[in-house]
Symmetry: C2
Subunit: 329 residues, 2 copies
């Protein structure tokens, strides 16, 4: 009753902030409260961390994110299938001396094919933990609560849309599925349980599941990637954060514009969808930072009513022959 009342209170408190601009003829957005009328639990918890709502609505509730995630898994499976069928053995794990401006990849030799996947918000959706963060108005990461989640949350996760179909297909084709997560090695049973409960297992710690604490590098994943690459030919990797592909992404200049620029570097830009597969996560992580002046370049900061000049002024010179009919359309 307390939890129910709390959830109801939160759902009602969210009605206003969850209104969003609905452009391009998308249906008007309404908050659907299916909860029965009931007195909110008193004293009520504070209102939810509204800044998280849109990201949560999108990732865990939207059909668009579900389709986007299915798209990623389908393309990863198609890519790996093609590599296996063609006998291509192109590894996608960077060498230790690589930089983002000079990326080199570990050779595969004749090792068996594998894919390396992040776990949280890549292979599984942490529905229970995100629900709890939201209704508890947890604005910053709580290590102790997350530790309890790692231990007890297995029944409260779901596979990301399309993950099970893709992994089943790849296993059928002889590809080993390996998970590389920063969940704690001390909670290996919980991590195995979560992946197995989501239908993505079997995941076995030290064999097909690697965790923080498996080596001396803590939360860095390059060491574990090297360990995996010594046993397998890693044909593809998937993750929701840049660090799922290389720890180098944390050692490069880390401002918003600089981070965004690194993914377009020569040698890096062509990896996206071509060995490195990104899954969406607008809910947490290193991508979520900055205010308007950080996110939007100065020269793009339009203010209504806009410049008193014709838009044509802004058209750069490019071949666009005048076609007398065009205005009639």
């Amino acid at each position: 009753m307390i939890r129910h009342g709390t959830a109801l209170f939160v759902a009602l408190a969210m009605a206003a902030p969850s209104a969003v601009p609905a452009r391009k003829a998308t249906p008007a957005v309404k908050t659907r409260s299916t909860a029965p009328a009931a007195k909110p639990y008193f004293p009520p918890e504070p209102p939810p961390a509204a800044a998280q709502l849109h990201g949560i609505q999108y990732l865990y509730g939207s059909a668009e994110a579900a389709a986007l995630t299915r798209q990623g898994w389908r393309m990863l499976a198609d890519f790996v299938d093609e590599q296996v069928a063609s006998g291509t053995h192109r590894g996608v794990v960077l060498t230790p001396d690589s930089t983002l401006t000079n990326p080199q990849f570990l050779p595969c030799g004749d090792r068996p094919p594998a894919v390396v996947l992040d776990v949280d918000e890549t292979s599984i959706l942490n529905l229970g933990a995100e629900y709890d963060d939201l209704v508890a108005n947890r604005r910053t990461f709580d290590d102790a609560s997350w530790d309890r989640w790692e231990k007890t949350g297995a029944a409260y996760v779901a596979p990301t849309p399309g993950a099970k179909e893709a992994l089943d297909r790849l296993r059928d084709h002889g590809v080993t599925i390996i998970f590389n997560s920063n969940r704690s090695a001390a909670n290996a049973d919980g991590a195995e349980a979560a992946l197995n409960a989501a239908g993505l297992g079997p995941a076995r710690h030290g064999e097909t599941l690697f965790l923080a604490g498996d080596d001396a590098t803590g939360h860095h994943k390059d060491g574990r990637r090297a360990t995996i690459a010594a046993r397998y030919c890693v044909l593809a990797m998937a993750g929701d954060q840049l660090v799922e592909f290389s720890d180098r992404f944390t050692s490069e200049p880390n401002g918003i514009a600089a981070r965004r620029a690194t993914v377009a570097y020569a040698g890096i830009a062509e990896m996206w969808g071509n060995g490195w597969f990104v899954m969406p996560n607008p809910v947490y992580g290193s991508g979520l930072q900055g205010g308007p002046d950080d996110i939007f370049p100065k020269d793009k900061q339009w203010r209504d009513p806009g410049p008193p000049v014709p838009a044509s002024k802004f058209i750069p010179a490019m071949p666009e022959p005048a076609t007398p009919q065009r205005k009639k359309h």
Copy 2:
């Protein structure tokens, strides 16, 4: 000065809500204010619509969204290239009598190859309009302001990451690029200017650009898709909303769970990344709706400290032979 002061005020006001749980060893999130110390403009505008912040930080500021978008464009271009190279003429526009449970596609005949792309938050990022929404604390869609944006915003947009490279490549291979947008036909000049300024043109209204008002069906796009499919073999479509692929997605049951289920229907599930390409947009649209009880299934609503039972209880029966070594890793 007014705009600058406002932006600074907003950037400062956002410091707290922009804190996010940083898991998986992602760097601690800090709000970077690069604005010089200065008195905020008085009277200050109200604090920004915080519910939008995470989505905006992710889509317009994160390297992860940039990589995810490059991935989508690369896969769309690879897919279309392969179709053209192999002479495959498989159209991806649904027939008028299709349903989501029985999707059928318009035949291509020998029409020339094309791709059909949504414009806003698919081909271009509306940086100026989103900046203005944010600092003006515009919580709901303002038709008049958006109309002014369509007319004057051309210089304040950017191509979505990877879009220009993909479209240049497809045009080089003889594929016609067609834009199908719900911007107003009355503002066709502004829409052409925005696409051209972003380097994605030439876009010509009635030829390679279709807009709301081009036919009698208003903001519905199926009519325009049929018009385009009568002239071209549409090998791929891209959009950030389900309605970019078929208006049927609005006529089906529209609750959160129902919408999310439709993208997994037989005949629909296999289209994602295979003719239909989704671009991320956690900032606005039909996917953003609902509170905790709508988004999170009842049976996934975990609350800290969680159930007092071992995670193993939740593991479904599946082959997982005991390996004595596993605990030692």
